[in-house]
């Protein structure tokens, strides 16, 4: 998939790779291809859901986009500028535009800072406003996330998990970013609290017109939050389409299997489960060709030899699978009950 930049692009990721080098034994070094050639673009105010099972590289991808990791190769353009070329003051400026919310609100807040201090520190390190203006902004943001100004004097341990996640959201919002990478923001929370956090994130996104890269393993949460959804498997995006397309017309065999295996709380909907053989292979020694072929029930001869590229099979519906690029045997596969 070749993406070009235009006025309507906030983030452009092209052929991004992040490989880790894992020492094994005395001299041997293995290459772990956590992210292996990912390209996509994100429009302003859009929510892209990034789903996949654990170990598929979704968290690494998020962190590489924020330059928390140096990429092995590839580029990330944020508002048209390559984020890997900046340093010092320019980097700090750019970082103000992109923020992150982590999964575990118990380990992502500094236990020694009060909430107010923490939020003030962000503003002062970015040299925004004077004391009074900062206090105003801090209070505004804490109310926005559903807490009270009196909470600013407290330390993180005085809050519950849901409240802490609200604080993490406040921290991400205080610089008015254009992009937030949310890495499983609700997964560690209880059901009723999870609903509060997801509702809050959704309404803030609409109100402040922020783009989210919403990373999750929970397909239902992805459906609730996202405009478009990318499915990742072993470091690669295997399918990328609008939310409705993904759920009504899932095309990649992996997406179809994944959807069929998610239990639905409705005794009348029984979907034919598509079996997923075995387990996710190790990214240290990924299979040749299409990374999914050893578990795929519809694998062709070519699948073990060549790597399929993400191809547009319908407008705005991209799939990396030979079933769709090898002549039109795709049509017969499209009937899915969901």
């Amino acid at each position: 998939m070749k993406e070009t930049i235009d006025g309507n692009t906030l983030l452009l990721v092209s052929d991004l790779k992040k490989h880790f080098y894992v020492k094994k034994g005395f001299r041997k070094v293995h290459v772990l291809k956590a992210v292996d050639g990912v390209s996509f673009k994100l429009r302003p105010g859009e929510v892209l859901g990034l789903v996949g099972e654990s170990g598929c590289g979704k968290t690494t991808l998020g962190r590489t986009i924020l330059r928390l990791y140096r990429p092995t190769s590839g580029t990330v353009l944020f508002e048209g500028k390559n984020i890997y070329q900046f340093s010092g003051e320019q980097l700090r400026k750019m970082r103000a535009g992109m923020q992150i919310i982590f999964q575990d609100p118990y380990s992502s807040l500094n236990p020694r800072l009060t909430i107010g201090k923490m939020l003030h520190e962000i503003l002062s390190s970015h040299k925004i406003g004077n004391g009074g203006q900062r206090q105003e902004r801090v209070e505004e943001i804490i109310i926005k996330v559903g807490l009270e100004p009196m909470h600013l004097k407290r330390f993180p341990h005085e809050f519950s998990g849901g409240q802490r996640q609200r604080i993490a959201i406040a921290r991400a919002l205080i610089l008015y970013p254009r992009l937030i990478i949310a890495d499983e923001p609700s997964s560690s929370l209880d059901m009723s609290i999870q609903a509060q956090i997801l509702n809050l994130m959704k309404s803030l996104q609409k109100e402040m017109e922020i783009s989210y890269l919403f990373i999750t393993h929970n397909l239902s949460a992805a459906r609730f939050m996202s405009d478009r959804i990318a499915v990742m498997y072993l470091g690669k995006i295997v399918e990328l389409a609008d939310r409705t397309q993904i759920f009504q017309n899932p095309s990649h065999p992996y997406t179809r299997a994944l959807l069929s295996l998610c239990p639905i709380p409705d005794p009348d909907t029984r979907i034919q489960q598509v079996e997923l053989k075995g387990e996710v292979p190790s990214p240290v020694n990924p299979p040749t060709g299409c990374p999914f072929h050893p578990r795929c029930l519809e694998a062709l001869a070519i699948c073990s030899k060549q790597i399929p590229v993400l191809t547009e099979i319908k407008p705005n519906h991209y799939v990396a699978c030979f079933l769709f690029t090898q002549q039109n045997n795709a049509v017969t596969l499209q009937s899915n009950p969901r």
Partner: protein, 329 residues
């Protein structure tokens, strides 16, 4: 209400924790029954007492601070709470087995899988080491583990979470228990592994007639595993019904909002239902109905009296005043 098919019958179970801050009434008057070959689910948020209920059944509640204050737990006619320590040890793992949430932390890291499965079989059934090893191999095959001989030689850290959970289930069913208690067995697993574990449990129930007591917070998993379910809130059961009735027409306001609070895979939604506030402190629970401070349908009576479970329809029990006055949702 006792029928010969009942495997487990819990009557008015109360398990309290005596802490320095006060008495935590974690389980406060729970009643339910599991029949043979049935799979009963217990749903609720963390801290509602579902795990403590399960632990009480096998007297695994750490004492102190926890203690079963009152109640009866009838299992195949005998009251488990009246058994001696030695007698209950003969029930645990043999007649009632348990599968825990976190497979990697419930296995002993310094013994091989083989050691740990064989220990269970040797303790309850005995036999020569060749016989025990053969039994362990068979049981791993039964949970669809390829190459069981190799797995038996491995240590827990060498296996993935999904594999370990299947090993845990194998260990649990190795003595062919009548009842299998599963405490969120799929919560730590990926979707594909979760589906494998669920299918395995369903096969067990169908083929061996094992009754299952299943604890979860996920209504989707509940609908795939259970035939009957109870919803728990702050130490009490607020609603119980067969799975179809519960999912199709939840009656208690808590059940209703809890279901609306989880995002759905099968439909788009603008906003999720959210319950204001958070789960109450069980040292000093709200008076009357424990849900009333968070309830949209509360009546004046709700803060004064405790609602009892009453049969709203055939087999559908609800503990709610607003409901019996004729109208929630």
């Amino acid at each position: 209400m006792t029928s010969p098919d009942d495997i487990l019958r819990i009557i008015d179970l109360r398990t309290y924790f005596f802490t320095s801050d006060g008495v935590v009434k974690a389980v406060d008057g729970v009643n339910f029954t599991i029949s043979k070959g049935e799979s009963v689910g217990l749903v609720g948020e963390s801290g509602c007492g579902k795990t403590v209920t399960a632990f009480s059944t096998l007297q695994l509640v750490p004492n102190p601070p926890g203690r079963i204050v009152s109640g009866q737990i009838h299992f195949k006619g005998k009251d488990l709470l009246k058994l001696s320590k030695k007698e209950i040890r003969g029930v645990r793992g043999k007649e009632i087995a348990m599968v825990f949430q976190e497979p990697s932390s419930s296995m002993n890291p310094s013994f091989t899988i083989g050691n740990q499965i064989e220990e269970v079989i040797r303790f309850h059934q005995g036999g020569s080491s060749i016989h025990v090893r053969k039994k362990a191999t068979d049981i791993l095959e039964a949970v669809q583990i390829a190459d069981p001989k190799r797995i038996l030689m491995q240590y827990p850290h060498e296996l993935s979470g999904g594999m370990l959970q299947r090993v845990m289930i194998a260990m649990a069913i190795s003595c062919e228990p009548d009842l299998l208690i599963c405490d969120e067995p799929t919560t730590a697993l990926d979707v594909s592994m979760q589906a494998q574990v669920i299918n395995l449990l369903n096969d067990l129930r169908r083929e061996r007639g094992t009754s299952i007591f299943f604890i979860t917070h996920d209504f989707g998993v509940l609908s795939w595993v259970c035939t009957y379910a109870a919803v728990m809130y702050a130490g009490k059961i607020v609603e119980q019904a067969d799975i179809r009735n519960l999912l199709k027409s939840p009656e208690h306001p808590y059940t209703h909002t809890l279901m609306g609070a989880s995002p759905r895979l099968d439909r788009d939604s603008e906003m999720l239902d959210s319950i204001p506030g958070s789960v109450p402190n069980l040292i000093n629970p709200p008076s009357g109905c424990r849900f009333h401070p968070r309830c949209d349908y509360k009546l004046p009576i709700c803060s004064k009296e405790i609602p009892r479970l009453s049969e709203k329809r055939q087999g559908h029990w609800v503990a709610c005043f607003a409901e019996s006055e004729g109208g929630v949702a």
